[in-house]
């Protein structure tokens, strides 16, 4: 076993893990943060996307030890005081979820996209979420949701 210390959603955590555990394993099974979903388990579908030092990664193919001393943000880290994050609310309003399994990954990919490009074109949105798959084929609503989120975040910023 090895000791892993990292910051998860603004709280420092220390856990004993097997060195070959994935970040998704540790978040879900050791920390109970089951909002992060594992779809393919091979870095192909994006459902397990989290932010590592602000950068979107697929946690199912990220060795957990790579988070040593770094900041992890999961879907649970977005809402504040029981209020949905603007991106989450946009996904609700655009009906961008069907079964919902891919949604946390899409939202985290959106967070990374909008942090880097606050005012993306539709093309840039498609590119930004190209690492995430939705098997219910709801991409149109998802792209709408990202666009709505971008607009609202810009409005909040302006206020």
């Amino acid at each position: 076993m090895q000791t892993l210390t990292m910051t998860v959603n603004d709280s420092e955590v220390t856990v004993e893990i097997r060195p070959d555990e994935t970040l998704a394993d540790v978040l879900r099974d050791r920390l109970g943060l089951i909002g992060t979903k594992v779809g393919c388990g091979e870095g192909e579908c994006g459902a397990c996307t989290v932010l590592l030092d602000g950068i979107a990664v697929t946690s199912c193919i990220t060795p957990a030890m790579k988070a040593q001393g770094r900041r992890v943000v999961t879907i649970e880290g977005l809402s504040q005081d029981g209020e949905l994050h603007t991106i989450q609310q946009a996904f609700v309003d655009a009906t961008a979820s069907q079964c919902g399994y891919c949604t946390p990954g899409f939202i985290m990919a959106t967070k990374a996209l909008l942090d880097a490009h606050p005012n993306p074109t539709r093309e840039e949105i498609m590119h930004g979420i190209s690492g995430n798959l939705c098997r219910c084929t709801g991409y149109y609503q998802i792209v709408d949701a990202v666009a709505i989120a971008a607009r609202r975040l810009a409005e909040e910023e302006a206020q």
Binding site: P19, G43, A56, V57, T58, P63, S130, L133
Partner: protein, 290 residues
Amino acid sequence: MWDKYLFAASVDHALEVLAAHNGKAQLIAGGTDLLLQAQRGQCPATVMVDITRIPDLNRIEEHDGYIVIGAPVTHAQIAASPLIQAKAAVLSEACGHIGGPQTRNAGTLVGNVINAQPAADGAVALFTLDAELEVATEAGRRWEPITDIYRGVGACTIDACHEVVTAIRFRPLTDTCGCGYQRLARRKALTLPTVVAAAVLHVEGDAIRTARIAVGPVAPTPFRAADAEEFLAGKAPEPAMLAQAGELTAAKAKPRDSVIRGSQEYRTAMVAVLVRRALDQALEACERSE
């Protein structure tokens, strides 16, 4: 699977740990392929030596007439690098097409090469740049041409249990060079290519001075199309010549029939098409820079 996961503090430290474990320790960078290989039992090493936190290794820079890309540099960093976009566009283009954004944020160019897969976009681009890899061993450091390290599908001469690839280098392309990169795949993202073609053309006046063409995955390793390159040298950059170079490259391709990637006949035909398009694109880039 793994007993220990360590972060190397320096290249020498990584080499020491590898030597101390004598084949039981292996380097890891992005880990996007390695973790899955380990889960499938294809990676006998039990100690992982992570090189991504070695100070000074994470760099993309122009130095002594070369562009140098350090081992921990990710595809995303390369795709976004103004230096690579300006002086080796074929590589930034290739790295921008690997996997999806998340994979590109973690996976490294050196890993793309060391995995020795014929479909590795980054490696195909590096073939056209005459890239070299710096290999550090306990005995010292050496530069190896990328074209020399392949031994077959998934096999290369570099042993990640005993050696450390620290960087890749190549000559920046001059203003008289243009790049082309063409990728045929079933989807636009998150998929390996059916055929990928990369080209660098050096045009002076009315003639092609040199052409560099590489393709994958249509043989056990990416390869340079020597016949087509020789054919183009000194010729006028006419559409018929570029098409002929595509045919000459296709004649050297030996793709397998693949349920996923298509039949041998289809893929061979597509090599000719993609090489022609890559050359067209390279020529256009030459004309733009004039």
